[in-house]
Amino acid sequence: MKKSSPKIEQSYNDYIKTLKKEKRLVLFYQLLIFIVFFSIWELLSRQEWIDPLIFSSPAKIVSLLFHKVQDGSIFSHAGFTIYETILGFVLGTLCGTLLAAFLWWFPMASRVLDPYLVILNAMPKVALGPILIVVLGPGFSSIIAMGAVISIIITTIVIYTSFRGVDPNYLKVLETFGASRYVCFKEAVLPASFPAIISTLKVNVGLSWVGVIVGEFLVSQQGLGYLIIYGFQVFNFTLVLMSLLIIAIIATIMYQLVDYLEKKIIKS
């Protein structure tokens, strides 16, 4: 930094201090909301102002979680769901990208398929659940398929749009070197769309959670979705809420990881 007058330096320091102060204030309120929310929940439940059978209480949830961690069963359920979700969104993104590449390669096909894509995109994909289960059997493959199917079409549409949006002058440069369509795709279209692909990845993480949880509702063998539906059936809402909490935490971590990946890749 250049040497500036003491007066400017002073106000700069003040400015930094204000920024820090604001940051601390925000963090304080965030923590406050957290504590107040769970305290009130605990209080209401203990005083039975809300039905503890339905709304459980933070203490009960934590003690159940502790119990499940001790016997290790929560890890197998969570691991199963995480595995399915990752597979689902990777598969969804991959297939969506491949489909987009196909559409780019055959412009005629993209025109023919356009209305079908619109319909498929508008359709709520989880409604396909029963059909998937009939076709793939009530197990692992159906759940993964749900996790993937839910994101394929939207991925295709977003990435195809990005393929189409690549500046034609980049292709012109390549064509003057006699580049084939494949080379144009590999050297310009695909790398230029990389940011778009990564950002669909972020959206797809969220979508895949929906697909996988619904899949587990339907198939009901193991996983966090299974715990929710099981807890519901035996009227153990502590179990339901605990599973929900775990899902929220893991989904956030996963999203942050992809977000981190995005920043890292886009930077380089």
Binding site: N169, V173, T176, F177, G178, E187, A188, P191, A192
Partner: protein, 261 residues
Amino acid sequence: MSFLSVQKISHTYFTKKMSKTALQDIQLEIEEGQFVSFLGPSGCGKSTLLSIIAGLLKPTNGEILLEGKTLVSGRDHVIGYMLQQDYLFPWKTIEENILLGLKILNRLTPDSKEKVTRLLKDIGLEGTESQYPRQLSGGMKQRAALVRTLAAEPKILMLDEPFSALDFQTKLKLEDLVWSTLKSFSKTAILVTHDIGEAIAMSDVIHLFGTNPGHIVKTVEVTKELRKLTPFNARNHRDYSALFQTVWKELESLEKIIPED
């Protein structure tokens, strides 16, 4: 037989709403090693003509002969193309960018690579090999784009307003650099521009284009003295202002005859 011959080229664009004749009966000859400019207002089909000569666009009528043979496409790479912006690939390093042509043409050897590296050095970009385009200034990027184009050793070079996005000083410097680089390789070149001064300073022959539809109005030869000078020195020569006046009047009279649409 001249080096490049443009024979009765016409081109009409068709869109859903209309058809637009961009070029009509373009006839011209270019000799080997010549520097030719297409000068005219925007929309008169200059870029279209370049795309046709480069084999990137099939004309509605007419043909292009290079050394007496019909030009089919850019397949054997005889044409180099430089655009208004550098269009360096931002995710590739400068080195990867300038070697791209050779790589696509399957002509990347240690020998050819060394040649290109030397060219990069000659053009004043030594040490930028591992940098990314965004780390370079506009003028440097345009120079790197020139290296990329020359790397594939095209027989003829097309420059589509390559200096128009640059500030004036950079533009003057680059004009000199491009001019002397091309002269040293005795490259045949076509420059598209709407800048009268640039056309006079750089070229041997200027074709003036008119609009609606694009056609050649007049062909002006640049005087022998001016041709020998670098663009910067040419701009200071006595003949320059005289020629500028001539071309200016010619373009003025065009505007009077053909009203804007």
